[in-house]
């Protein structure tokens, strides 16, 4: 049993994969609590796809794909913020427009290259087994930045998410905080690209946090539980990928989804059974 557990990690690329998976699992799940509570799931999805042109440009220039993704994500986050605030458009409309435009631009760029297949498939679906040491450093640094900002300004983010009116009255600038959250989300998505890929990063932003929502009654606890679920799903997904020879990103998301379904049915307060029992008692 022990060797079954340790065996995969005698290989160096598997050690890197484990570390990257853990970082991404924790990071996505923690910031995901705000994505879930502020109903930003569509935004997360859009940001993830909008990263494509940045990756394509970086690929064409022979630059680091993650840096291309990072620049694109921040530009799109800024664009959504500006259009929805200044242009008087509803945020989801602004997101929809930018999402479609960026995706189309990405596909347009990709279609000019003949041999993009492998690398871009990895960006789309993740390739945690191919994480380099440099990627790991970038992932780690971005994760530390995002988590530090979230922890230092925890009370501000909590207030602005729960009651933007009070945040405004107390001079806590909910607009600035929303903008900061967009940037942090963009950074997180870039980090998540490596392991689960564009297509699945939105799921990692939402699923563990939604599971934690069902199990907790305080924001800090929700973040902690979400982080544990995200980390556990990531590691379990990696084992599944090693022993069953399946795509790791997909395995991670499906394991997180299984955890969500269990919580949805059995959660003590908000689960299906608990709510049914409550209704019967009432």
């Amino acid at each position: 049993m022990i060797t079954w557990l340790t065996d995969p990690f005698t290989l160096q690329f598997m050690q890197r994969a484990l570390l990257a998976s853990l970082i991404v699992g924790v990071l996505c799940s923690v910031i995901g609590t705000f994505v879930v509570l502020r109903a930003m799931a569509f935004l997360g999805d859009a940001l993830a796809h909008a990263i494509l042109p940045g990756v394509a440009i970086a690929y064409l220039l022979g630059a680091n794909l993650l840096i291309g993704a990072l620049v694109a994500a921040i530009l799109v986050a800024v664009g959504i913020g500006v259009f929805s605030r200044r242009g008087g458009l509803k945020e989801d409309t602004a997101i929809g427009i930018l999402f479609a435009a960026a995706l189309a631009f990405g596909v347009l760029l990709m279609s000019t290259v003949r041999s993009y297949a492998t690398d871009l498939t990895h960006i789309l679906f993740g390739n945690v087994l191919g994480v380099s040491v440099a990627d790991l450093w970038l992932t780690g640094i971005l994760a530390v930045i995002v988590l530090t900002v979230l922890i230092v300004f925890f009370k501000e983010f909590q207030l602005a998410s729960f009651d933007p009116v009070l945040a405004h009255m107390l001079g806590k600038r909910p607009e600035t905080l929303r903008f900061a959250m967009l940037i942090l989300l963009a950074l997180t998505i870039v980090v998540g690209l490596q392991t689960v890929g564009v297509g699945l990063v939105a799921a990692m932003l939402v699923t563990p946090a939604a599971t934690a929502y069902l199990l907790t009654r305080r924001l800090a606890a929700m973040m902690a539980v979400s982080a544990v679920i995200g980390a556990a799903s990531s590691v379990a997904g990696l084992y599944a990928s090693y022993y069953l020879n399946v795509a790791s990103g997909a395995a991670v998301v499906l394991i997180a989804t299984a955890a969500f379904l269990l919580a949805y049915i059995f959660a003590p307060r908000r689960g299906l059974f608990a709510r049914r029992a409550l209704r019967r008692a009432a």
């Binding site: 230092v152 009116v165 009070l166 806590k172």
Partner: protein, 277 residues
């Protein structure tokens, strides 16, 4: 600002104030002044601009023209000194916060961006929880509470801000008689502390009996002053139009379903006090 001028000046001063909401004027040419420590009920039909007035006061909606001063300062420049309790449907009751968390938010204005709540803040929170009689609910999630308890949580949060002015948006709507009485008792206590209170309400009976000043609003300020001079047949007709019905010295206001008077079902009739001269 010296204490003498503060005492002399009105707490809340509106001069020909117009506030637009989505391009349409929701309040027009409102002029009124509220003395320090007064408790005012703002009464009017749905869409009369009661909430708009509050949102303009806290700086959420811009004042298009006119002057609005609270304790000699423009809206949005008050920080802690104004506390606002929103209507209950504006609150996300599913958000994972406990009663203690919510009341502590009232302290955030006095805390810097990098500071965590201190012992003094926790003392204020404990005192406010006690005052509202919800200390034993401290660890509960807000979604698990009854409507009356939820309202007390937000009142406790407002008090934790240690405000000079308290704005309550429709606090008598959707709570039972016990919660209503508890709120009125609290307002009596606040009167002794010199906190100016503005309450928006549909409940004209409470407005007439428990408030020294009432303002009757329907986009314009129709009448303002002591309830007996405000709730006259003439003023009520002007405020409520076809929704007001007068029966032998009693006013009956149909406040449900604007524009559907007389379709025979689902009307919430509120019986009002005798109409003044």
């Amino acid at each position: 600002m010296s204490a003498a001028t503060a005492a002399a000046a009105a707490c809340l001063l509106l001069e020909d104030v117009t506030v637009a909401y989505g391009g349409r004027a929701a309040l027009e040419g409102v002029t009124m002044s509220v003395p320090h420590g007064a408790q005012v009920a703002i009464v009017g039909p749905n869409g009369a601009g009661k909430s708009t007035l509050f949102k303009a006061l806290v700086g959420l909606l811009p004042v298009r023209s006119g002057t609005m001063l609270l304790s000699d300062r423009a809206p949005g420049k008050h920080g802690d000194t104004i506390a606002y309790v929103p209507q209950r449907e504006e609150i996300d009751w599913g958000f994972p916060v406990t009663v203690h968390d919510v009341v502590m938010m009232g302290r955030y204005g006095s805390l810097g961006w990098f500071h965590r709540p201190k012992a003094a803040d926790r003392e204020v929170v404990a005192r406010c929880l006690d005052e509202l009689g919800i200390a034993e609910l401290e660890r509960r999630a807000i979604g698990e509470l009854s409507g009356g308890q939820q309202q007390r949580v937000f009142l406790a949060r407002a008090l934790a801000q240690e405000p000079h002015v308290l704005l309550l948006d429709e606090p008598f709507t959707g709570v039972d008689v016990g919660a209503r009485e508890a709120l009125l008792t609290l307002l009596d206590k606040l009167r002794g502390r010199g906190i100016t209170v503005l309450v928006s309400t549909h409940d004209m009976e409470t407005a007439a009996q428990r408030f020294e000043l009432t303002a009757l609003l329907n986009r314009r300020l129709i009448a303002y002053g002591e309830p007996a001079t405000v709730f006259t047949q003439e003023h009520l007709s002007e405020a409520f139009g076809g929704q007001a019905l007068f029966l032998g010295g009693m006013a009956v206001i149909d406040q449900c379903c604007e524009g559907h008077l007389g379709d025979g079902e689902g009307h919430g009739h509120s019986h009002e006090p005798p109409v003044g001269p």
